[in-house]
């Protein structure tokens, strides 16, 4: 399983041409995804999470956005060079997406039935009746009560949670091998969030769907993801299994992210600490570490050199890119020491701490 990755993204570079210059939205993102695996992607707004996903399915806003380098392979098949017509066959049937806002992701003038059947018929030569039966199955699977009658409803007659269930049903209609869920629960109430996440996990597990779950909510990822990529300024800056990452965050940005969210198992009365400052303007080509300006651990070297993603233990062995033994990597010259995580600031060190 670890040899054959379902989805292989290598050094993906995406630029947007704007009047102010080229926006370096994604700067060399690489990751692997195996069947049945859930990859969490975390990072604040504008760090390139969504753009990476749109680039994978070839839906970057045209003509401004372009993939300028790297490759995306699905089962060994290069996607970035496919023609629009071929890509269309991939979308929906092999890679499906769920969007953030279920209120606006369904067409208000079409009945749920028509939208579900359209999805099925877009890729499969099936009769309307068969597609309808399938649609009822799907709605049942996502927990919509009275699916036969709800098929006749319009989106505005559904609540937000129900619409997101419908979106999940549409995304899973063709049993895609990869599911990209872009902040699937951000627009929902907390109680509904849990239900939808539960559903998503159950369905992807049953079907062995590989999932990319994008969110800025690390709490969601803790329960859902096998591995997590933390992104910052269009690059992955730390990656590892969920356990590794939560137990032993090494990049100052990851530490900042973790300290800025409330935890159930943390001490009560502990303060939430925001990360000061804002992400860099991606119009300028990055020089040095992109997190330099906001980092408490920065060294002089960080200002001029860009750190590479390297194993945190400095090991020279092969980097395992997925599975439960995935190597924990971070892009930092001066990684956070375990004792410093709780403090949230560098402690005086003895000897040269840089690796």
């Amino acid at each position: 399983m670890s040899d054959q990755h379902l989805l292989e993204v290598r050094d993906l570079v995406v630029r947007f041409r704007t009047h102010d210059g080229a926006v370096h939205a994604v700067n060399g993102v690489s990751f692997d995804l195996a069947a049945g695996e859930t990859l969490g992607v975390a990072g604040e707004s504008g760090c390139g999470k969504s753009v990476t996903n749109l680039a994978i399915v070839g839906l970057l806003p045209k003509p401004a956005g372009r993939v300028e380098g790297g490759s995306v392979k699905l089962d060994g098949r290069e996607l970035t060079t496919l023609k629009e017509e071929e890509l269309r066959q991939v979308r929906g049937s092999e890679i499906a997406m769920i969007f953030q806002d279920p209120m606006t992701s369904l067409n208000p003038v079409l009945r749920i039935e028509e939208q579900l059947i359209e999805t099925i018929q877009a890729h499969r030569e099936v009769a309307k009746e068969a597609a309808r039966t399938r649609a009822i199955e799907l709605l049942t699977a996502v927990g919509v009560a009275n699916p036969e009658s709800r098929l006749r409803s319009y989106p505005h007659e559904f609540s937000g949670g129900m619409r997101q269930r419908v979106m999940i049903a549409m995304a899973l209609a063709l049993e895609p091998r990869v599911l990209i869920a872009d902040e699937p629960t951000t627009a929902l109430d907390v109680t509904i969030q849990a239900q939808v996440l539960d559903l998503l996990r159950r369905l992807t597990e049953e079907r062995g769907t590989a999932t990319i779950l994008v969110t800025h909510d690390l709490g969601v990822l803790a329960g859902m993801a096998d591995r997590i990529n933390v992104m910052y300024a269009g690059a992955v800056i730390e990656s590892g299994t969920t356990d590794d990452l939560f137990a032993n965050p090494r990049h100052p940005y990851t530490v900042g992210l973790l300290r800025s969210i409330p935890r159930l198992d943390g001490e009560t009365g502990g303060k939430l600490v925001p990360i000061e400052g804002r992400p860099p303007d991606l119009i300028d080509a990055p020089v040095g570490c992109s997190f330099y300006a906001r980092c408490a651990w920065r060294t002089d070297r960080c200002a001029t050199e860009t750190p590479a993603l390297l194993p945190i233990d400095g090991g020279k062995g092969p980097i395992v890119t997925n599975g439960p033994t995935a190597t924990h990597v971070a892009a930092c010259f001066n990684p956070v020491a375990p004792a410093e995580v709780a403090e949230g600031r560098p402690l005086p060190r003895t000897g040269g701490a840089t690796r």
Binding site: L59, R88, G92, V109
Partner: protein, 294 residues
């Protein structure tokens, strides 16, 4: 104990749909209902003209310039023709030419707008510059020019008015389509691999149609006035005896001092039909606006 209340109340209510919702809101809108009554009156007059008009609109049925009476409800004109009958038949012409012109304008403008907004790029630029050219000419002037070039007649009249309104429709549709291109459900449709044509026809056009419907209703009002206006300028139907409202108005104008009722009745017919479409158009705009839903 609250179990029973947990049953989804939406299941009990039958799905009403977009048009059902709109009709319900329209019924609560008083001005729109007044407009609807005006339009129904106008349409009934036009359709039933051959059956309910008491006299032949082309024949002399009384003495010249009679005042309104029980026999001649609206009086008679210079040639002794019954004005009530002529107004009824005039409604027929206005309705026929007006609706025909607006439908034609919708088709021309709709196709151009759909191509421009749906495909974008160079073709979009070409179509939009073309509409700019047409929009820069005042619509009545454009219509006068077309009628002059094509000669007088009902079909020419229809075409002239259609051409002067088509650019507005093209712009409107293109604008809504452009806004919809970035809509989440359009992007979502692309992620499921729907084809470009399918997205345009099935996802974008139905959502872009509402402003077009509203505009068409409002334009019908102006079209009726334009028809009368062109008739007034002597560019109406080729046969001067035709009971076209504008043409009739020109004839009646000469007797405004001695027989003002003629102008009042004809003008009233034009005003009522135009106001009717105007009020209904405004009502439709309100009831079809998705932001006012629920």
């Amino acid at each position: 104990m609250f179990r029973a209340a947990l049953v989804d109340p939406q299941i009990a209510r039958a799905s009403r749909g977009l048009w059902g919702d709109a009709a319900r809101r329209l019924r609560r809108n008083r001005p729109a209902l007044v407009g609807l009554v005006c339009i129904v009156l106008f349409a009934l007059a036009a359709i039933l003209a051959p059956f309910i008009s008491p006299f032949d609109p082309y024949a002399m049925n009384g003495s010249s310039l009679d005042a309104p009476s029980l026999t001649h409800l609206f009086g008679t004109d210079l040639l002794g023709r019954d004005i009530f009958s002529r107004v009824l038949y005039g409604a027929q012409i206005s309705l026929f030419v007006g609706v025909g012109a607006v439908v034609l304008a919708l088709v021309i403008g709709g196709v151009l707008g759909a191509i421009a907004g749906g495909f974008g790029g160079r073709i979009d630029g070409v179509i939009m510059r073309l509409t700019d050219v047409f929009l820069s000419i005042p619509s009545i002037l454009l219509a006068i020019g077309i009628v002059t070039a094509l000669g007088r007649g009902m079909v020419q009249l229809m075409f002239a008015i259609a051409v002067s309104y088509a650019p507005t429709f093209a712009r409107l549709l293109r604008g809504s389509l452009l806004a919809l291109r970035e809509a989440d459900y359009v992007v979502a449709a692309r992620t499921i691999g729907a084809s470009r044509m399918r997205i345009l026809v099935r996802h974008m056009l139905p959502n872009a149609l509402t402003p077009l419907i509203v505009q068409a209703t409002l334009v019908l009002a102006t079209a009726i006035i334009d028809i009368a206006g062109l008739g007034f300028l002597g560019l109406g139907p080729a046969d001067p005896r035709t009971p076209e409202w504008g043409t009739m108005l020109v004839d009646a104008r000469r007797f405004m001092q001695t027989a003002p009722h003629i102008v009042v009745f004809i003008g009233g017919a034009i005003v009522i039909s135009a106001i009717g479409f105007n009020l209904l158009g405004d009502g439709l705009r309100e009831s079809l606006d998705p932001k006012l839903k629920r």
